[in-house]
Amino acid sequence: MNLTLHVWRQKDGKSKGQFVKYEAPDISEDMSFLEMLDVVNERLILRREDPIAFDHDCREGICGTCGVVVNGRAHGPRERTTCCQLHMRSFRDGDHVWIEPWRAKAFPVVKDLIVDRGAFDRIIAAGGFISAPTGSAVDANAMPISKENADLAMDAAACIGCGACVAACPNASAMLFTAAKIAQLSLLPQGEPERWIRVKRMVRQMDAEAFGNCTNHGECEAVCPKAVSVDNIARLNRDYIRSSLIAERRVEAAAG
């Protein structure tokens, strides 16, 4: 099939970017979206033009590295699908395809379609961990966990940190990501010791990173490739309110 691409080209974070039009003839519908970009880049290189910079790693929907906005939708037209797993058969011959990077103040553009998602790392570093002692594995039945909670924690843990939720949110809020990273721990007994200080610290970091506030649009859940539920945001809010009722000092002391 033949496509016309409009790709956001931007030299670096300081330069101004713009859409550049590229014809992409002879694209196989069996290619993934990223393979299509590879082909386009091969042709650009042979024409001595600068290839399009885009992030990718696993190309199997598990690392969260890829991610661009395709025709206005984060990760493109298919539900629950990262753009590395999106196939060109989701497009039609003659389509115009607009490709741009995540747009959020907290995710500065590095080059073309690549953004710096270091803000996510800093949110995790602020509290996305547990202090369970390592050493030999504990007996499997020592800590009973209800099936429902185990499932919900697992669903939250499916978040791959791609940032599509931020890109889709009209406020560029990172609530779905942060909520998923909190819920996967707070739903389980292992996450209990730091539960209150974790939510405080992670939310504080999220705010410091210039993400917007959540006003319940739900766009995040709609584009999330892992279908992380906005219910987690409700869990975050509940924990956050509760944590502010517990004296700060006690919370800090509990966290050591």
Partner: protein, 244 residues
């Protein structure tokens, strides 16, 4: 869904001791880069688990112990070794960026991949490996003449990064073929077609190949040295695994 066979993992890795320290003092190797947990087969997520296990249970203790117990001389950027290493990297980058030939790096990567798949896959033969050992150096020479590496060093340059990797693959690919050629038996997940039993099962040669081997790099374009360390079995006798 399309299902097709693919080579899964190459075995091997850097030699480490019980603390995950390599033979270079202070150089610890964690996760899949070390040899320690590689078996005859590796299933999905083993790499992740090895990374987690090493990262959680071993490295925090052994690396911390090393750091606490070792006295370090301060090193500055004008240390002769640091300067030499920096110059090496800069030269290599310059050399890569000066390539302005006719073939893309991906094109070379594909050709190398096909050679490896064809001649150094799960089943391999002496003849095939010898063919690969002629073709890979030729391909590498062509790469260093005819590849195109666009862009500059001062900006994010994914093409340069990729070219550096493929240049490495062209070396390691040749070494893998050399190693496979040297091992005249069928062992582990790899099958030398000349060495099989009457009913087509892998045939090991415990008399000549009951050892681990490591290759020593001797510089660009020269044949590496093969070092071996015999395997000694004190409590279990070597046997052949049979599913029959």
């Amino acid at each position: 869904m399309r299902i097709y066979p693919a080579s899964h993992y190459t075995m091997g890795g850097l030699w480490v001791d019980y603390n995950l320290e390599s033979t270079i003092a202070g150089l610890f190797v964690a996760g899949e880069a070390n040899f320690s947990d590689h078996g005859a087969n590796r299933l999905g997520a083993s790499a992740l688990m090895q990374g987690l296990a090493d990262g959680y249970f071993v490295i925090p203790y052994t690396l911390g112990n090393y750091l606490a117990g070792t006295k370090f001389e301060p090193v500055t950027e004008d240390h002769p070794e640091a300067r030499a290493a920096k110059a090496d990297v800069e030269n290599r980058i310059k050399r890569l960026l000066s390539l302005n030939g006719k073939r893309t790096v991906m094109d070379f990567h594909r050709e190398l991949g096909k050679l490896m798949w064809e001649y150094c896959g799960m089943g391999r033969t002496r003849e095939g490996l010898q063919t690969a050992l002629e073709k890979i150096p030729a391909l590498r020479a062509e790469f260093w003449e005819d590849a195109i590496v666009p862009g500059v060093n001062e900006e994010l340059n994914q093409s340069l990064e990729y070219a550096g990797r493929v240049a490495d693959f062209l070396e390691i690919g040749e070494l893998m073929c050399l190693d496979a050629l040297e091992r005249e038996e069928s062992c582990g997940a790899h099958f030398r077609q000349e060495y099989q039993t009457e009913d087509g099962e892998a045939l090991r040669d415990d008399v000549n190949f009951s050892h681990v081997a490591a290759w020593e790099y001797t510089g660009e374009g020269t044949r590496p040295n093969r070092h071996i360390e015999p395997l000694e079995f004190e409590y279990v006798a070597l046997a052949t695994r049979s599913y029959k």
